[in-house]
Amino acid sequence: MTPGSYLQLDDVVVTKRELPDREPVTIAGVVTQVRARHEGAQFDSDVFAIADGTLPAMVQEAAEITTTRVDPELYVPPAPGAVVHRASGEARDAALHFDRMERRIPMGTGRDGVPVFLNADFLDGTRGAHVSISGISGVATKTSFATFLLYSVFRSGQLGADGANARALIFNVKGEDLLFLDHPNTKLDESTRAAYKLLELPANPFPDIRVYAPPRAGDSSGAPDVSSRLTGVDAFYWTLEEFCSLRLLPYVFADADDERQQYTMVVHSVTAHLNRHAVPAEGGISIDGRRIGSYGDLVDHIVEQLTDDDTRSTWAGSAVNMGTVNAFARRLIGSKRDLARLIRGDLAQRRPHQIKTAESAQVTVVDLHNLPDRAQRFVVGVTLKTEFEEKEKSGTGRPLLFVVLDELNKYAPREGTSPIKEVLLDIAERGRSLGVILIGAQQTASEVERRIVTNSAIRVVGRLDPAEAARPEYGFLPPAMRQRALLARPGTMFVNQPDIPVPLCVEFPFPAWATRKSESGPPPTSTMKSIVQGADPFAVVGGRGGSQDDDIPF
């Protein structure tokens, strides 16, 4: 660099190469490494002689550029000594391939303070889908980036009608952070508003949110178990009848599909038996002429039937030994405490209690943070399976459904199989054509099922653990960027998308919605509505699935 000029990391630069027989080639790139040194110094201690004024030396600054674009595609090197300019405006867009993006979703600003974009083709399934976000918990701001990305998809208008109709399903696994997406953020200042304006986004909270929380443990009324958000929260649960007819039993077990486990055979035959023989009875179910009103009762009944020599073969098949049955029973009994509040026989069936994004708001938040691990898996697995099956049935990729799931390494670990992992794999591999987009976040991408990570078109990295950053899953980061990822500040992410050869360093603005109770503004009026919706007074008793004649005749 000539004295007086400078380049910083992530600056976009462009140079031209004249060719004898054709039009000049424009070569553009991004600064990936910078250094400065004393030219003329042989030893490190020579700096003292230089500062003293005894040793002549020149300060020489140099920047390493990673080429992002050669236009036209004639791969000649830039001439040494050629003048390089910092790119702005159209030249910058061209260097970062933004000009080729038909629909571009703003995802923040680069280090130069100018917006950077995500190619929507790689998000909505046109050419690719799914986002994988990795980073250390707490400082990597994975969830914030995921919600900001969703906000940008919904509000930028780049996806047209698809964006407006798209739905999102967010699982809230930590704290009550995501329960205030529709509350304005009181800490929003002018600079943040300006940042939103720069990205051509309104600085508002999410307009249309539906929050689901599990029923309070031991509470027979089924009131949602949340402490900070008081309005606009609905409880979700499954009735015993749904549990049996929808074959949800395998989701109780973390490793129910693992071939090495003998007891999985029992799981599947018991599931089939429940599906065949359970009949609804006043909220609960009735099996073998016996009424069962709670999950605990159901577990007890199953265990009783399995240990009884007379009935075991009808439930579990003939060739099952007692050890296997005991293994099954032990795990099933263990699930009683965790799942009793979610699988109910005592609450009204007609009351809306299922998570269905098609009938819910634009953004559906499912709060899991109060639930124990097994219950979290159950909810995630069953909800995703239901949603995915709905999508399969409708057979169309629209409307889009974005699924935000943190701690993906828990639900789809690299080792072993489970029904939840199968659902997630299904989404990763077929979701693109069905319009189900997975935005998965995890601390360590190396511990997530490889097929899910490789199917993600967009990879995002926040601050990384040093040992984790060395793993091959982050091969898309150039070495210098890998080092920077160890130091990334909250709000800084490195985003890799398929059509830009270098990951982009992105700073996304502070959320315009509240992320905790203390910073939330007044709740929107629409949340008042859902209190009423919790129990719709106009719903006809037994109207769900009943005959049309029973409807109110006006």
Binding site: G40, F43, I50, A51, D52, G53, T54, L55, P56, A57
Partner: protein, 318 residues
């Protein structure tokens, strides 16, 4: 132990088992200039000396790029030497703590006795012909480059002074002054001691110098003589003549002016002494000079490239 790397020779040429420079000089030496010879003793830097803020240091480097043979019409042949040389000036602004290259020039010449030789254009660089007197044996050619380099050094040092001299600066020339004595406020700096100028009785004064001390000024009556004094730089090995340099200034100066320059030099030069782990010729090879030489060597260009260009250029003319 001599502090210098053996490949550079010794900082002084010792006699067999003797102390100090070997060959006694035949020069007329006047040792009574500053103080009578009988009272000679090491002199400390006077506290009243105002050290110059700006010190200029001049040096040149040279490199033989290629040896050539000319083809004369009568079938004889002369030896030729294509050499690159460069001279430069470092301006050390000790007040601001900034050392910079204020002037540097590169010259390239073809040194030969051949009457028919012409300039050689090798790629983008041009070797101008310097015709030398005599038979022009190949062995004499390297020393023929020196006058051109000295001329370049004089050129560059007067240019550097022309820009920013505050009248209180000091110009240090690497090596004896020789024909550079017309430069104002200039001292010659001699690293290696080959001749013993002082009478034997005064030698102990030189060897007993402590770092930063100097001997009194004495006068040499030779052709290239002038005012001269010895100075010990810090960082020597402890050997009697280690770290000793001889400094000289123009004989055209009055004795008072010479003594003033001697005072200035002993106040200034120790600061520039190099450290033994960084420089094989420490402490005599001054830090700015070493830095300047490195810079000048890079300015000479890549030797292999020039050799290739010369080969190509001479092949074309045949």
């Amino acid at each position: 132990m001599d502090a210098w790397d053996p490949s550079y020779g010794a900082s002084y040429e010792g006699a067999d088992g003797g102390e100090g420079p070997a060959s006694p000089s035949s020069a007329q030496v006047d040792t009574d200039v500053e103080i009578p010879a009988a009272e000679w003793a090491p002199i400390d830097v006077s506290p009243s000396v105002r050290r110059p803020d700006v010190v200029f240091l001049v040096d040149g480097v040279r490199r033989n790029d290629a040896g050539l043979w000319t083809a004369e019409e009568d079938g004889t042949s002369y030896a030729g030497l294509a050499a690159s040389y460069a001279a430069g000036v470092v301006r050390c602004d000790l007040g601001r703590g900034q050392a910079e290259l204020v002037g540097a020039k590169v010259g390239r010449g073809l040194f030969t006795a051949s009457p028919t030789a012409s300039d050689v254009q090798a790629g983008t660089v041009r070797y101008t012909v310097h015709r030398i007197e005599g038979a022009g044996e190949a062995s004499k050619l390297p020393s023929a480059v020196q006058p051109s380099l000295t001329a370049l050094e004089i050129d560059i040092s007067s240019e550097a002074r022309a820009v920013g001299s505050d009248g209180a600066d000091l110009l240090v020339v690497d090596g004896p002054l020789r024909n550079r004595r017309q430069l104002p406020r200039t001292i010659g700096y001699v690293k290696t001691q080959q001749k013993q100028y002082l009478p034997g009785a005064l030698t102990p004064v030189v060897t007993s110098l402590r770092p930063g001390q100097r001997t009194p000024v004495f006068h040499l009556g030779t052709v290239w003589g002038g005012w001269s004094w010895y100075l010990r730089l810090p960082g020597g090995s402890g050997a009697p003549w280690s770290g000793i340099v001889r400094v000289e200034c123009s004989p055209d100066l009055a004795p008072d002016e010479a003594i003033e320059l001697a005072e200035l030099s002993s106040a200034t030069l120790p600061r520039f002494a190099s450290a033994s782990y960084k420089d094989p010729r420490a402490p005599q090879n001054l830090v700015p000079i070493a830095g300047l030489e490195r810079r000048l060597r890079t300015m000479l260009g890549d030797a292999r490239f020039l050799h290739r260009a010369l080969t190509k250029a001479t092949a074309l003319t045949r």
